[in-house]
Symmetry: C2
Subunit: 343 residues, 2 copies
């Protein structure tokens, strides 16, 4: 497969107000970039869209650096090295890294990690065997720390992170309860992933009562991807010495004003509970160990995963926006290009 | 000094709505109780009033058991054993324990701890050498954990707990900033206790700006007694890896509806911060060690303390209500009775 003279890249057209719209993204055609000395050219096979990217779209403070208006967007990519200018990778090598939302992008070897095809489908390195899987792994094992017999609750339970987090908690012997946004997701969690209970928050009015029914012995460990009223309800059901791992707050990312909610800190005193925010990047030195463990669990069938794949780079904004509508089950990917060998 | 045939006790007249009023308390006269077998009779010398007691006045869930309407109130007392029915303490012994708001109360030896008069004034066993001092000690050393060069912020900084917490943080080498509610308290913190800065929240509109000026390098450790908008401002100034020790939320205790505030959990992700609620009672096995350390610091002049003493059991409700108006500096006590030897 030859490299075309021109190819496409998404840039940030403007900073969104509230929920992003397609007009916030520009799909531009440019001359396919040429790798400089010591660099390679990568053809994008899969692009990952992730909720945290919403923070990069705005200028305000976030843990991820803001994108500049007019600049290419970036995200997790699995791609194939198609040309090397002394960049250390042979053409044909499958790599992953944080690259442009583009058909082709250049990268230095330091920005790339080779993907081991023996570990599973290459796309899994953007999901269960990549950043989302590592986020689940460290959030559960290092922060929420559910133990056998405890009750573990996760929000965004059918997503790339939440679905893996719940399964790791179950492997630790915990009772696992998930919140998700559709009956299809609830069925997936209960019937396929083995969650002890799942709650469809979209059709539930009283989260506290629903949680009391699903977690009658209270909540010992909570993995929060969502925030807002569901988290308020979980706080009302915490047990003494509970641990809360705050991974994300997707319900708030598109807010134009900081939302308000009940002040709950006194609950932490009553329950001697701990709330800890974490970033997966802080655990980078241990990614390889965690990924190996996740791959073993996947191979043994102990951790299952699903992917929602949107076809075509041109549909990446739609796939990204869909994250906030809860349209995906499991990891949301965008299929961008084909491998040279046709796999 | 003989024991009178009748004496006084405060009971809960009704559950308060909002801020307690004197009508919520009944001062009753009763026959002075007689100690049963294995018990002693204690004359109250000092009674402690503490913010957490507000929780015991209402029926709702709290970490302290609710008082029943019509029942005697209870609180920390320093008293003198005046009669023993085989209760193990000699008359004349000074003891402390959780006893009734009364001139005289009976107690079993297990409820009492002897007060070592060598350690300081006996009233200090309700303050810096008692529960409030221990609360400050464990909240700082075990939860907030400020280290040399870090910035430590405390709310309710001129109170019994906050004033000691700030001084312990300073002993650890931290820069110490306190929030308090009057210029007199600010002067006390800065001029007498050696706080690096103090902020009068009652005359400050922009807590974030005031905190940025007082803690220009951000907040590494936060000891929260107050909650509400001050805590919101501190959260906005947290540094990476900050620790928040939640001790109390006095600004919320008299609320008739759960107050709302900005949702701040995403801040914990951005800053990888930890928020931990704690109860001093969980550290009971180590009280003796902590109290000995506090007594050494007091003797060396490294920790100073002040008491606000209200005279007369009949004024205990007023002293208690005053806690929520910020009327006290340091430990709020009620002087109830005199020692038999006139000390």
């Amino acid at each position: 497969m030859s490299v075309p003279e021109t190819s496409r890249v998404y840039t940030l057209a403007r900073r969104p107000t509230g929920t992003p719209t397609p007009d916030d993204f520009d799909l531009e055609t440019r001359p396919t970039p040429t790798p400089g000395p010591g660099s390679v050219l990568v053809r994008t096979l899969y692009l990952s869209v992730d909720p945290y990217m919403r923070g990069r779209m705005q200028a305000g403070e976030s843990y991820a650096e803001p994108w500049a208006v007019g600049d290419p967007l970036e995200g997790g990519v699995v791609g194939e090295v198609v040309a090397s200018n002394g960049g250390g990778y042979e053409p044909g090598t499958i790599v992953t890294g944080n690259l442009e939302w583009a058909d082709y992008a250049t990268a230095s070897p330091a920005e790339l990690t080779p993907v081991d095809p023996e570990r599973g489908p290459i796309s899994a390195s953007l999901g269960v065997l990549g950043m989302p899987g590592n986020t689940a792994y460290f959030g559960v094992t290092e922060v929420a720390q559910p133990t056998a017999g405890e009750t573990f609750v996760v929000t965004g339970a059918a997503g790339a992170v939440g679905s893996v987090a719940g399964q790791i908690a179950a492997l630790n012997g915990a009772r696992v309860v998930g919140f998700a946004g559709s009956d299809e997701k609830v069925a997936y969690l209960e019937d396929e992933l083995g969650f002890d209970a799942a709650i469809n928050y979209a059709t539930t009015d009283d989260y506290v009562a629903a949680l009391e029914a699903a977690a009658p012995e209270g909540v010992d460990a909570y993995f929060d991807n969502v925030g807002g009223p569901i988290t308020d309800a979980v706080f009302s059901n915490l047990n003494v010495d509970a641990r809360v791992a705050v991974c994300g707050q997707i319900s708030l990312y598109n807010a134009t004003e900081l939302p308000t909610g009940p002040r709950k800190l006194i609950t932490l005193v009553e329950k001697r509970a701990t709330v800890e925010g974490f970033l997966v990047s802080d655990f980078a030195p241990r990614f390889e160990t965690a990924t190996r463990q996740l791959a073993e669990w996947v191979a043994a069938g102990d951790v299952q995963y699903r992917e929602t794949v949107t076809e075509g780079l041109e549909n990446a904004p739609e796939a990204f926006i869909g994250l906030f509508e809860g349209e995906n089950i499991g990891k949301q990917l965008v299929k961008v290009g084909e491998r040279s060998d046709g796999h």
